[in-house]
């Protein structure tokens, strides 16, 4: 009888332990299922589509790596990749320099700092399509304001969207206008969290403001800055709306970013398999970039912690 009671107690204990071990997994299961549905499944579907043959929008079956071969042999793909990388490099660099400068400026006790900060973040709150429309009107050679401004200054009107180089730079300018505030906000938050002692110590020792910034502030804020740069880089690679509204990738292919070419390949030319392969190749490239960046951040964070 006593043995039976012990056995019942033991079973209850085992069951209790099983519940204790299993319940966290059960509790996160709905979230995991949701993530699988919205994130993993589309990725899986994309991989499958990249290995399939499509005709007239219908899937005909597995065709191995043919789509990848076609993409890698496609000159327009490489041209779009080149334009995208150039765009990301120039835009993100400018945004970083301007964003950090603005953040440092606003971290001081300026009058109306709150107002200025609010004004500066307005561009990034506007929908990208609207940004595209507004800048299309600004750049337009017939009704825009850029050409008249150049005329007033006695210069030749540039017809921004009519030439490859000026259209590309015009696109970069739009991106910088819209997304510099994001870097500014992230860096500003980082600056507010910095220890004051090393910076004040350097000032007491007579270091110039420039020296304090490059020797102390920048190294300390570097991990935060790198996060901001990574976020912007990922976002800039996928830039679509502004280009679609402003230039549709032209003149020629001068502003045809990879997102625009991928969209056209899938939805205008109905080459779903090639478009999927193209986007997966971009994803792989981005992942490599991300891993490298995360390693750099970790290294920088360790260094900064050591320095502090």
């Amino acid at each position: 009888m006593a043995g039976e009671a012990i056995s019942v107690q033991g079973r209850a204990r085992v069951a209790g332990r099983a519940i204790a071990t299993g319940s966290p997994y059960l509790l996160i299961a709905p979230a995991l299922l949701f993530m699988a549905a919205v994130s993993v499944y589309p990725l899986f579907y994309g991989v499958r589509a990249s290995l399939a043959e499509y005709k007239y929008g219908r899937e005909l079956g597995f065709q191995g790596l043919d789509n990848y071969r076609r993409v890698l042999a496609d000159d327009v793909f490489w041209q779009a990749m080149y334009v995208t990388l150039r765009f990301v490099l120039i835009a993100v660099t400018l945004e970083t320099i301007l964003g950090v400068a603005l953040a440092v400026l606003l971290s001081r006790d300026l009058r109306f700092a709150g107002l200025i900060r609010t004004g500066l973040i307005i561009p990034m709150t506007v929908a990208p399509v609207v940004v595209g429309i507004v800048w299309r009107l600004i750049y337009a050679s017939d009704v825009g304001i850029v050409n008249p401004l150049f005329r007033v200054a006695g210069l030749t009107p540039p017809d921004v969207l009519s030439h490859g180089t000026s259209a590309f730079l015009g696109l970069v300018a739009v991106d910088v206008w819209e997304w510099t505030p994001l870097i500014m906000l992230i860096v500003l938050a980082g600056l507010h969290g910095l220890p004051r002692e090393p910076i004040e110590g350097a000032r007491v020792d007579g270091a110039s403001e420039l020296r304090v910034f490059f020797d102390h502030t920048l190294p300390l804020v570097r991990p935060v800055l790198l996060v901001a740069i990574i976020l912007r880089t990922i976002d800039a690679i996928g830039t679509f709306d502004q280009v679609f509204v402003l230039t549709k990738g032209g003149p020629g292919t001068s502003t045809q970013l990879i997102a625009i070419y991928g969209y056209n390949t899938a939805f205008r030319f109905s080459q779903y398999g090639q478009a999927s392969a193209m986007m997966l190749l971009v994803l792989i490239g981005m992942s490599v970039l991300l891993v490298a960046a995360i390693r750099t951040i970790r290294g920088a964070a360790k260094k900064a912690t050591g320095a502090a």
Binding site: L26, Y56, P157, H163
Partner: protein
């Protein structure tokens, strides 16, 4: 109530309740997805999907109501932008969603939709096309095409009618009648007039759509066709990189000094604005513009813009880009859809459609004196449809157009920068487009 609020849940109760909640949510979503909330398929209603276009405004604003009044069948009209509707229609057809009874399509969608099996054979479904339909318009609804090159795998198939024309949209010449004593008939006449009368920026000689892709191809085609070139030859080789194609493009280059700055970035809106503000002698455009030329809210030259066939070199060769209506196999009300197409293309309705100034699809309507007295451009429309040249009838046409349109745009940029010394530019870019197009079609297979 207090007891319930105060009650603390044991872990077991939490798990049980969570499981029940999850199961309930799953059941509700799954059952809805399986169609418990099935759409209604009323026999007295048809759903028509379309893209937004000026040319479709009279259909939307007047004729659906009249159809309902005459037949008792309600019309639900879903209109969205061009790209979105193309995707919506294709997805609806491929997935057999059954959300629409009629797709209104651009003519170059028909080959892809018909080949993919997402349109029904209208004649097999009982439709008898009005024999007075303009032939070049009607031909755009057949797959495989009745005229022009065919893909190898449908080379010997009997053409079937998958779509009916509802608006014979075609390119015409629009000219300012204050500047011409009669309609110019050749490109030389147009060029002579711009040398004589154009005074940029007050009065331009000509204006175009210069944006890469479809817009600049539409600018080029009526000139190319008139010079004896072709988008694609009967054996699918490019028909624009020879002497005719080069001469046609150089003719456009010769207009550059008389065109507005920034034409490289001009699309329809900018191009027609120049004409409607009385600042251009002439241009070529599709028929949708007729809805605006006499509208005082759009135009400062009301009554002064006339229409004619696009100018000729060897012949007049406007591009045709008609709007078709087709029915998917999954349409909930096929009979109602057939009834609508039959009704709308009937003689009486087409005559009233022509009287709104629209591109009616029957000859009688476009040549009826009472209609012409209300819309002076109708004879020019009939003439343009009769002279029109279709784009290549293949599902790969959008890519072919993109290839040609990108090189044409590059050529225009180069020619503008060359300050009149544009020798060699046309040949270089047209040859590049021809090489890319040939290589693309070889890769796709089924052409050579």
């Amino acid at each position: 109530m207090k007891r319930v609020l105060d009650a603390r849940m044991t872990r077991r109760e939490l798990l049980r309740n969570s499981a029940m909640f999850g199961a309930a949510t799953f059941a509700v979503t799954t059952l809805s997805a399986c169609g418990l909330g099935k759409k209604s398929s009323e026999s007295n209603k048809i759903v028509i999907g379309a893209f937004q276009d000026n040319a479709l405004a009279p259909l939307r604003d007047t004729f659906f109501k009249r159809f309902t009044d005459e037949t008792g069948i309600k019309v639900q009209y879903n209109e969205t932008n061009y790209d979105s509707w193309y995707q919506n229609a294709k997805n609806d057809g491929l997935n057999k969603t059954g959300a629409y009874d009629i797709y209104i399509m651009d003519d170059n969608w028909v080959p892809e939709f018909a080949a993919a099996g997402i349109l029904i054979d209208l004649e097999a479904a009982g439709l008898k096309p009005n024999p007075d339909l303009l032939e070049n318009g009607l031909n755009q609804g057949y797959w495989p095409p009745k005229v022009g090159p065919r893909l190898k795998d449908v080379a010997n198939d009997e053409p079937k009618l998958y779509a009916l024309p509802i608006d014979d949209d075609v390119q015409m010449l629009y000219y300012n009648s204050d500047q011409f004593s009669s309609a110019p008939t050749t490109w030389d006449e147009i060029f002579a007039a711009m040398k004589d009368k154009a005074d940029p920026p007050n009065m331009y000689g000509w204006t175009i759509r210069g944006v890469k892709g479809n817009p600049i191809v539409q600018t080029y085609l009526p000139v190319l066709n008139s010079y004896g070139g072709a988008f694609a030859n009967d054996d699918w080789t490019p028909g624009f990189d020879g002497a005719e194609g080069v001469a046609a493009l150089e003719r456009i280059f010769s207009f550059i000094p008389y065109m507005p700055r920034g034409i490289v970035e001009f699309d329809t809106d900018q191009e027609i604005q120049v004409l409607l503000q009385g600042q251009s002698l002439a241009l070529t455009e599709y028929t949708g513009l007729t809805q605006r030329i006499d509208d005082p809210e759009s135009s400062t030259v009301v009554g002064k813009i006339d229409c004619a066939a696009t100018p000729a070199e060897e012949k007049s060769g406007p591009a045709i880009g008609i709007f078709n209506a087709g029915i998917p196999p999954s349409a909930p009300n096929t009979d109602g859809a057939i009834q609508f197409l039959d009704w709308f293309t009937s003689d009486d309705v087409q005559l009233d459609f022509a009287k709104t100034g629209s591109a009616a699809v029957t000859r009688k309507a476009l040549t009826d004196p009472s209609a012409i007295s209300e819309a002076r451009w109708l004879p020019a429309m009939a003439d343009a449809v009769d002279n029109s040249t279709p784009k290549p009838r293949t599902p790969d046409e959008p890519k072919m157009e993109d290839i040609l349109g990108t090189e044409l745009n590059k050529a225009l940029v180069d020619a503008i920068g060359a300050n009149g010394k544009y020798g060699g530019i046309a040949q270089k870019h047209l040859s590049a487009a021809a090489d890319q197009m040939t290589s693309y079609l070889q890769q796709q297979g089924g052409y050579y």
